[in-house]
Subunit: 665 residues, 2 copies
């Protein structure tokens, strides 16, 4: 979808005229600086303006196979351009995720890039887990794209619980090789991106056996396909897994092994080793691989923010352009954004973009600190970071998925059109609830940390993110963000306390601790969720408080949004507030009326705020959300691209319909 | 997906062995009788076993155009089979929706049937709004499929608010014709199924102008395409609207008019007429078309039930087959259905199937009563039925959409596979939240009735579904379903009271009543939602209480499910319960612990209950949900159908990937 210098829709002109702050200032604030905004836009332009990266026919009209072929074509162009950027010193590892998977990546290839894992998983794993010798051998080939790799961990039978993986790698000292096998149907690798027909190498995670003993999962480099012919090598059973809800261009694959032999040095040995005679040497610390998992979750919180930005931009602009129904019978049909129910659907989502953004920034900073500490051998702060990252990943991806869907539904029937790009955005965002740690599993990991923190009060008092568990007080209700934050902390603390008590009671009644944990898990999940909410509220407040370098006009808007996010959270948790704090029913009325006031205050700036997100039309790819607001023209323009519309009569009329109708005469 | 006489999965065998009741009894109970079960299965077999209705390649792998062509082929076969059934006296109007759109229809054509509206809207509108003469002329042609019609109401700019439609039909007495025009881009018809390239006739809803005056919207029969060539007729601008989130086989179309002339008798004149000289005669009652709208909403509640049945069957069976993670480190990996968090995700959804089913039955009965009354000229009970139908449509479709999505997410990554059929089911169920009255709009219609009922207490006392508004009492908490029902009624009454008060206050402060209504609309929506919940709970209770013809074993299960549904509803509304009833925080603990007990009681029967839903493998169309539980074999079998897997190396390797990799050497 191209941005023409179209006439701007009159309603949007009116909205922009009444905005009380400068949206550009917001853009620079969110990007970090004006310079960073420029760099982002330059990168976007470099990719999105390239005619080689445009398709003749929108992807949704192609067959599954054609989609793959078109995606591989584009993926090669993208990789070539990435190499150009590298050569000019304009891109490093930090940009790959954005270009290959993040907001920009999903704009270039909305169905996903089949080669993404090469840069995002294959090379980082070589770097993180290969010895210097292994890196020397492989990194060069991979970095310069002589080979293309993927990362094969998940199996048909095992996802989040990776200890249960079944693929075996048995060491044979007589030939100094590992023999890979898929002992069961469920042990087949299933899901890795690009595995189906794209990659010719993979890092395969398998249970290592040597000298008759299993030593748990380890990574192995395996060549999958012949360099010249791309034919699967002997013993490699490989293909793609079929259609999915979204990301149908990523070529997710399956992979089975029948006595596939790889040299000993194909096991990545930075942490653990197998000697030529088969002796196994264990990794000094199992926490070292922990950091990467945290990194990915940090990135996902940022991605959730991007998807939300996109969806609310589309829904808010559409709601300003769309006129429908009546408030007063004497008046013309109002913009649907003037319905308070519509404001209630959308404005808290606008506010949540900021909540996610600030928490993503916090996570990123703390991740970098903790990583430096790790390199200096200090592991102390990792569990706390891990606990926050787990519940933020779960809470933010779940909220973003619901939020994107709410945006889509708020656009009525037109939100159901592929050309709105809301269905596609949902396909990408909902997947995040499952991958890189299923959300319920992650919340239970946070809960384990919370219960431990509750039990070790003396240590907990020194941990920034959880010390409130042992320090809360039940403040009397006031109409303030501070009260809401303290109340949500109180809620979390009481939920943790209650869950701990119920575990105890179950253990005392004779249950095994594990069963007691399982039986209390609904409450535990709810406690971890509340912890995530309290963290988001606190981080939002601390960030807004510390902002000094913005205009008073922008600051006012940031504070209004912060208040809206806080009140809306409180109103989602009235049951917990009434149960665990001293607030009363009449206080909820105060919050409800405050919410309504805030919706009204934000109304004139709604379009300005989403303009400030500065998501370009190319990235939005939405007939409903473009900057010019020419919604109906664009819906038509998109419909005209359907191959069915290239001829007035489809051949099926003559083949099927006419013979049927005639047979009835 | 075919049901083979495969070996049944061992876990499912174990589950079925421990079931405490006979699932077949449940099937007959839900169908209405053993005879009705047999008839349903016979109809399913008649369609689903027909080799002409099977596709060589699963639809998801086809291009958009190929999907349409394959769907038209099948649609003609289905229509031929419908005619066969008619001739044998085995099908009437009551079966069309099921075959063309309901559970069976979506099993035959998961992407939707492009000819559905012919039987579901075109013919019923001719019957309902045509004069005897018009019926004589058109019904025969339509019934025998000499012509194929659709129903064109929604426009690019107007959906739920049909009074705002812009298409014009201006009467020209000199030729005794109407001249149809699309005065604006937004006046183009947009969405009607089959309009793009399938139908050759449409009933078009347009603003009628005669003698210089607009008389509002009326229906007109318009010929769209030439009978022999299928070419669009003069002045008809027509095509399809492009890809959507789901239903990509329905050929939704757009339609514009440039001075299209139709004879006077093409206006359907049963209710209003235009005389040859242009004199307009108004319909005696505007409430007469009201009934059809109610009918469709009744049907949608039943459809929501079917989709939920499908999704929970898939998720529960998969959760019994899937093993993952650990409860105790010493034990083998448990079935994931043994995690209480998984039970909490799924079992309340099982229970909601019954809640929806019983309310759909109630609606159907009352709809028939009220229709008989209408025919006798008695309109009194229509507004009350309309109010219930609106909020049940909104509450049940919204819950079903969330529920189907929760089922999908509970299946982890495999739920994201198209072959799970959960994404496809979501695509169908979420559309129901928008069409036939957008949910928020419908809740506000119910709210209007509730506010009126609150204001007219003397009348309200005689209305079954709302008399509780003026009769509630705040019962002291007991651990009982009856308390929950009375408490949710109390909640609704207090919400209605509060909303009425806030509207009053706003009016007194000088706001126009319409603005006061809009500003209170968030609370009004919430009151209507609570009314729907109270109705579902009450109907569930009354139905279960009145059941006498089932075994004690089944009755026990029905009561457990009813309790679970009630407790789960209460726990979703703790904020309202604490605010508006005398229950306390410790009572919530009692409810939470009751919920956990119920999950544990239902656990052994979970598979038995979904077996009792008796959704055949063909209807489920799910690799994860089949009766035999051979989940992994079926996932593989489905993947093998991908055209990409029909050759080991895709041509794109030689075209794009190899040249790129070689260029880097």
């Amino acid at each position: 979808m191209t941005t023409n210098n179209n006439k701007i829709n009159a309603d949007l002109l009116k909205e922009r005229a009444k905005c009380t702050f400068n949206p550009k200032e917001l853009t620079h604030f969110l990007d970090g600086s004006e310079q960073k905004t420029l760099e982002r836009k330059e990168r976007e332009k470099f990719f999105l303006d390239d005619p080689e990266l445009k398709s003749k026919v929108p992807m949704e009209y192609l067959s599954h196979k054609e989609k793959y072929e078109e995606n591989i074509r584009k993926a090669c162009v993208i990789f070539r351009k990435v190499q150009e950027l590298q050569n000019e010193g304009k891109a490093g590892m930090e940009n790959y995720r954005e270009i290959l998977g993040g907001q920009l990546g999903s704009a270039i290839l909305p169905d996903g890039n089949p080669l993404t894992l090469h840069y995002v998983m294959f090379i980082p794993t070589l770097l993180g887990q290969g010895t210097i010798e292994q890196q020397t051998e492989w990194i060069n080939k991979a970095w310069n794209c002589h080979i293309v790799g993927t990362y094969a961990q998940t199996e048909l039978g095992h996802g989040t619980f990776i200890r249960g993986l079944e693929t075996t790698a048995v060491y044979d000292p007589s030939t100094e090789e590992f023999i890979l096998n898929s002992p069961t149907l469920t042990s087949y690798k299933w899901w890795p991106g690009g595995l189906g027909h794209s990659a010719n190498h993979a890092i395969v995670v398998a249970q290592l056996y040597t000298q008759g003993k299993c030593h748990g999962i380890h990574p192995f480099i395996v060549e999958l396909r012949d360099k010249e012919t791309h034919m699967p090598l002997k013993g490699i059973i490989i293909g793609e897994i079929g259609c999915k809800l979204g990301m149908n261009g990523t070529n997710n694959g399956y992979l089975g092994f029948k006595n596939v032999r790889v040299p000993r040095m194909h096991m990545l040995m930075k942490n653990s080793q197998v000697h030529p005679d088969g002796t196994y040497v264990k990794s000094p610390s199992s926490k070292l691989t922990y950091g990467t998992m945290v990194f990915v979750r940090v990135v996902l919180v940022a991605d959730a923010t991007s998807y939300m930005k996109k969806a609310v931009t589309i829904a808010v602009r559409y709601s300003a352009v769309r006129h429908q129904s009546q408030i007063k019978t004497s008046d013309p049909e109002p913009q649907i954004i003037d319905f308070v129910t519509q404001q209630y659907k959308l404005f808290p989502l606008i506010a949540s973009v900021f909540a996610f953004h600030f928490s993503a920034n916090w996570l990123w900073e703390v991740y970098n600190e903790v990583t430096s500490e790790l390199e200096a051998g200090k592991l102390r702060n990792l569990p706390e970071l891990h606990a926050v990252a787990c519940c933020l990943k779960a809470v933010c991806t779940a909220d973003a998925a619901l939020g994107v869907e709410q945006c889509r539904l708020s656009c009525g029937g037109h939100g159901y059109m592929t050309s709105s790009n809301l269905p596609g955005t949902y396909g990408l965002v909902t997947a995040m609830c499952t991958y890189e740690g299923e959300n319920t599993v992650l919340l239970l990991q946070t809960a384990r940390f919370l219960i431990k923190s509750w039990q070790n009060k003396e240590e907990t008092i020194h941990l920034d993110t959880v010390k409130y568990l042992v320090q809360t007080e039940d403040l009397p209700f006031t109409k303030s963000v501070n009260w809401i934050i303290s109340a949500m902390k109180q809620v979390t603390a009481r939920k943790v306390e209650l869950a701990a008590k119920h575990i105890d009671e179950r253990v005392k009644s004779g249950k095994a601790p594990e069963d007691a944990w399982n039986e209390t898990s609904v409450e535990l999940v709810s406690a971890a969720d509340a912890h995530g909410r309290a963290f988001l509220l606190q981080t939002y407040a601390s960030t807004v408080e510390s902002i000094t370098n913005v205009s008073p006009q922008l600051k006012t808007v940031l504070i209004q949004l912060q208040e809206l996010y806080s009140v809306n959270t409180a109103l989602r948790y009235t049951g917990d507030l009434l149960r665990f704090t001293s607030c009363k029913g009449k206080d909820i009325e105060v919050l409800q009326s405050w919410l309504e006031q805030l919706l009204n205050l934000i109304r004139p700036n709604a379009v300005g705020i989403v303009d400030g997100f500065d998501v370009s039309d190319e990235v939005l790819s939405s007939a409903l959300g473009a900057y010019d607001g020419n919604v109906y023209e664009r819906l038509f323009e998109e419909a005209s691209k359907s191959p069915l519309n290239s001829e007035p009569v489809n051949k099926s009329f003559h083949q099927y319909l006419k013979p049927f109708l005639k047979s009835n005469l």
